[in-house]
Assembly symmetry: C2
Homo-oligomer: 415 residues x 2
């Protein structure tokens, strides 16, 4: 099964926005075993949209169009599809009612042109809208006597994703004669390279290749670590989930030591949850990261239940006077320990984590660029560790955030 | 002149990386008055690359191919172009020498397959490589007797950008009979909506439309404000720069009150520069932003000359005990003032900026979501202001960062 992607919108060609939709769709299709061999962007021009759609349908079994479903005169996706199908557009009263009700529910006046969104090519099936006003479309077409299909979904990413998962992927899989449900499970890892992970998982990957379902993929996420994603196909959700559970256990039996979370977990959300479960409050003392750890922590809803605050001690004197660090080299485990104890006291926190290091461009206190000293005070217990991280400035600082949080996570789990 | 874009790489179709190259090129082409009406992604498959390239050349005057120039067997851009040109690839000794020297200079052994990058279609011109190993190509083709051109540039963004600016855009402009130099100037603004900016600049835009050169574009950058970009074409760099200088003065005469910087300036780099010029050190007290202001400030190289640190007082008690804020509502101008004075004292800073507010989801201290109180202590002078910002959580927090820094910037300029 091959489904190519056609993104519609002049703003895409002018570079005013990045087309992340087709990337996301490519990822979903690959996980579902559907080929996507050409993806294109075209502007809001009926002739060019129609021509390109015809060419793409000559090669692919299906084409998904993204964007151009809105209410204005330059939203032309419906017209182009009707032309390729060789049918008229007709007004769908049921769709129009949904649009009218949506405006009424929000207490807003509906401009008449919104009803353009209720025009449907004869023979097309509507994908009901749950988040916006424009419905999606499933449009059967015959190309040289071969049955193919055009999907149309809105360009707004969350509306697009909802419709692709809810309607387009199941329809594609049904047409390809495949099982109708795709589920995936992502294990978030930190502390191992992609090639290292690959090596450790060699045996599991060989067994997975043998059965062919689920599939396993590595997704590098830069300074967020590497994701291991399992994707299972099955006739029903419980069967797919059972497959995932079995293989997740298999993967974990090999790499559980570096798995810090699953799916939408982040290192900071996991750490906050561990602290919350233990009834512990958190304080920070940041030097090299200059507030980045606190910024990440406080972006998690509910952080205020656990997080006291941070002393960003960028200047050495602030380390000495506010945190009580003894005068001396400030990039050292001794300084990190004193920073953590100082932050614990100043902020009234049960647990305090500290970071001091060298982001570059030059070395400092005889420590090379990339050095990170982490301190951790838990009650009266204080421990420290030194790490060597790659990258300059921004990359080194971001790596420091997750490295230090992982150190805290491991300590809490071991304690 | 129409130049379409063909990005080559299976990893793009699988969604493993986002194609930001074609977005960037679309933006450059639009600024230069070159149409780009179709942009496509295709995988590392010779037949499909060649077919698609032929189809694109049927419609466009030029096609720029991005990626597939590397040393491995799945780098097929050179082969596809040679096939469309109807010529052979020949080994270019000069290019090979450059590649060999590059490895020698880095003290690395050169794998033999790197010399694949020295294969050049007969009749093509080489764009010398300055940052990597693969050179770019300018390849004339005749399609149905009409002279057209194919460009090939590497997929690595900084190599691609360098070659497009240095060789592709000048060549495209020369072919279109246009002046050969494009220069642009970006004014960074904060505090006005796009429609408001448009209205204020109505007269300038009308005069610009009259002369046609330079062009003016608004680029919305979300919580980084709106950029006003002037792009001038001229036969020489000094002439283009003179045009830009004249019209920049014209634009500034209308909106100078909201221009905080130019080109690569950021709000934080501008604020640090103003403090440095005045010999003033900076401290922060952050609540709602939880360390984001400090994180942004410390990402600017040289921040340590000016920046002392930040007290991230997320819990109210930390405001009371560390900063000496009187007990009471913590989202208020009184609390913001006390936070700033406290940070100035605790951190030993000449200037201290404080932020307290409500990021949501719920209101706090009777203040609605989106409320931001900023405090600023400069020497013994203390001032405060309250803002109402849009968005929830992350957006509100990011808007708070730039709003507070702009408040500091304006105070320093007025003082």
């Amino acid at each position: 099964m091959r489904c190519d992607v056609l993104a519609v919108g002049t703003e895409l060609l002018l570079g005013q926005i990045t087309d992340t939709n087709s990337q996301w769709m490519g990822e979903q299709f690959a996980a579902a075993g559907i080929d996507s061999l050409m993806q294109a962007k075209v502007g809001d021009n009926l002739g060019r949209i129609e021509t390109l759609l015809r060419r793409m349908l000559a090669d692919a079994d299906a084409v998904i169009m993204c964007g151009g479903l809105g209410p204005t005169h330059d939203d032309l996706t419906r017209e182009a599809i009707a032309a390729v199908m060789g049918v008229a557009l007709e007004f769908d009263e049921a769709v129009a009612d949904v649009i009218r009700e949506m405006f009424a529910a929000r207490g807003r006046r509906m401009a008449e042109n919104n009803l353009r969104q209720a025009m449907v090519p004869v023979g097309a099936t509507v994908i009901p809208q749950t988040r916006g006003t424009a419905p999606g479309l499933i449009c059967p077409v015959a190309i040289d006597g071969i049955a193919k299909v055009v999907y149309a979904v809105p360009g707004v990413p969350h509306e697009m994703k909802d419709m692709v998962q809810r309607a387009v992927l199941p329809d594609l899989l049904a047409r390809s004669g495949e099982a109708a449900v795709i589920r995936s499970r992502t294990l978030r890892t930190w502390g191992e390279s992609e090639s290292g992970l690959n090596e450790r998982l060699d045996g599991v990957i060989a067994r997975l290749d043998g059965v062919g379902n689920p599939t396993l993929a590595f997704l590098a996420s830069g300074w967020e670590g590497i994701k291991v994603r399992l994707t299972a196909k099955a006739p029903t959700v419980p069967e797919a989930d059972a497959l995932l559970a079995t293989w997740e256990a298999d993967v974990r039996s090999v790499v559980d030591d570096i798995v810090f979370g699953v799916d939408d977990d982040t290192m900071e959300s996991v750490v906050l949850q561990l602290l919350r479960e233990r009834g512990l409050s958190l304080g920070l003392a940041e030097s090299v990261t200059g507030g980045l750890v606190a910024g990440r922590i406080t972006n998690v809803p509910g952080a205020s239940e656990v997080f006291r605050g941070s002393v960003v001690s960028y200047a050495s004197e602030v380390k000495f006077t506010v945190l009580g660090v003894p005068e001396g080299p400030v990039v050292s485990e001794a300084a990190a320990a004193a920073m953590a104890v100082g932050a614990q006291r100043v902020l009234g926190a049960d647990v305090a984590l500290s970071l001091t290091g060298v982001a570059g461009p030059a070395e400092q206190d005889g420590m090379p660029v990339g050095s990170l000293c982490v301190g951790l005070a838990v009650g009266s217990d204080v421990r420290t560790q030194t790490f060597r991280l790659p990258g300059l400035r921004d990359q080194m600082r971001q790596m420091s955030v997750i490295t230090a949080l992982d150190f805290l996570r491991r300590t809490l789990l071991a304690g």
